[in-house]
Symmetry: C2
Subunit: 242 residues, 2 copies
DNA sequence: TCAAAAGTGTTTGCGATACACCCATGA
DNA sequence: TCATGGGTGTATCGCAAACACTTTTGA
């Protein structure tokens, strides 16, 4: 029925509304995810995505940012990229009650070990590839997050969200290579990035040594642009079955 | 808090969970939206997107498909494209109570005038460009839907969702031109579509006259592919400010 | 002097654009 | 026979892939 008739708050089964966060970062050249270990049933002892209830006066976005701050222990999460993925609402996804969860993907530049903001259960970074089956439908949420981020790298300037405020083009390229799991040609990547107005802007005097060896690289900051047109397409997979 | 402690259903303010549908179709070369006129406050007399409560045993997707069937009066909506857009959860978006709404975009090929499935309030098709300010935050939802569909046309085979089971390439091109609001070169469009494996497949003997005049066009069906790689980018807008 | 990483230059080929042109049908 | 829409061919331009090469640092 499209006409919303009675607005009695308790006329319908109440829904709990939560947020789930797929927090991704790059550590030592590998993609890592922030996970918490569950203490009680269901799924006791399993890893799960961090998350929690949306409070009565919050939007899902506000709740997600609050949770992000609590889980990571970071002082300022206002500048971090937070993107709404989709909402998971299958009736059986939590055996205890009806929970509708709005999922977000969050991207962090460096990876400080989470300091567990006063809470007992500890959050930890785990390598994305070594993640065992997660609690609830969190495997699917995490996979959706990875797909989304990978797709966004193609058509948006999102990659800088994985980088510290000042970064080298080599570091930016590593973001693409790590998330996509492919190698990219350095000269071509460079040209593409620099040819996109507003993607990155040079830091005037900056230069930094990356791996201890090699020529110091110029430093860049994230620019004002958000869209990447034309897109930077990931190389087509080799073994293509028609 | 990421540890979900008490699961008392009434410990938190209950949220109503609804779906809102941006149902789009092409009529006479123009993009149209399915809207319902509100009978009571708030926003009495204003147009709104169709939608309604998610029932206790439904997922949001199921509820959206049920609402779509109810609003359009169509017998079979199982084949129609339904895509989750995002969830709108700002605390003040409905003045009566806390409503979290999962928005969907639905795409219909032809446009049967809705028969209002037994309900009093009538749903109607209105031209997208002539839509007056809608109730609640539905203007934003509708704009988000349009943006999403426009972007999806570039990188997915979504356009066939706007077409009947058998269609001509000219009709498919009109989908792009109408949603994007731009013209496309016919020979190049043709080649691009036919060069993408699985986008469309020819109907063996089919041919149809399109506008009464002109050469009868070959008929095609939607293929199995969903992704469109490399993408079919919309022509860059002329008046670009750097 | 070598290894490693940054940065530049150049060739080549594919794909998209922008056309010109032919075909089939109804008025 | 003309207008209208479908369909084919083709020259050109631009971008991007691929790869060779130089530069600057630490070991």
């Amino acid at each position: 029925m499209f006409v919303v008739r009675g607005y009695d708050k308790y006329a319908h089964e109440p829904f709990a509304v939560t947020v789930d966060l797929a927090v991704l970062t790059l550590r030592g050249g590998g993609l890592h995810v922030l996970l918490v270990e569950r203490g009680q049933e269901p799924y006791a002892g399993r890893w799960a995505l961090p998350g929690g209830f949306v409070l009565p006066d919050e939007s899902a976005e506000t709740a997600a940012r609050r949770e992000l701050a609590e889980e990571t222990g970071l002082k300022d999460v206002s500048g971090l990229h937070l993107e709404q993925l989709r909402t998971y609402s299958e009736p059986g996804r939590d055996p205890r009650m009806r929970v509708v969860s709005v999922a977000f993907a969050a991207l962090l530049p460096d990876a400080p070990e989470p300091t567990g903001g006063g809470d007992a259960a500890q959050a930890r970074w785990l390598p994305y590839d070594a993640v065992e089956p997660l609690a609830f439908d969190h495997d699917r949420i995490l996979a959706d997050a990875h797909d989304r981020v990978g797709a966004d790298l193609e058509s948006t300037c999102l990659a800088t969200a994985f980088c510290p405020p000042e970064f080298t083009l080599g570091e930016l390229q590593q973001v693409y290579e790590t998330v996509w799991g492919t190698g990219l040609d350095r000269p071509n990547f460079r040209r593409k990035v620099l040819a996109t107005p507003g993607f990155v802007e040079p830091v005037p005097g900056g230069a930094r040594l990356t791996g201890g060896r090699g020529k110091p690289a110029a430093l860049y900051r994230a620019g004002a642009a958000t869209a990447l047109r034309p897109p930077l397409l990931r190389p087509p997979r080799e073994g293509r079955s028609a």
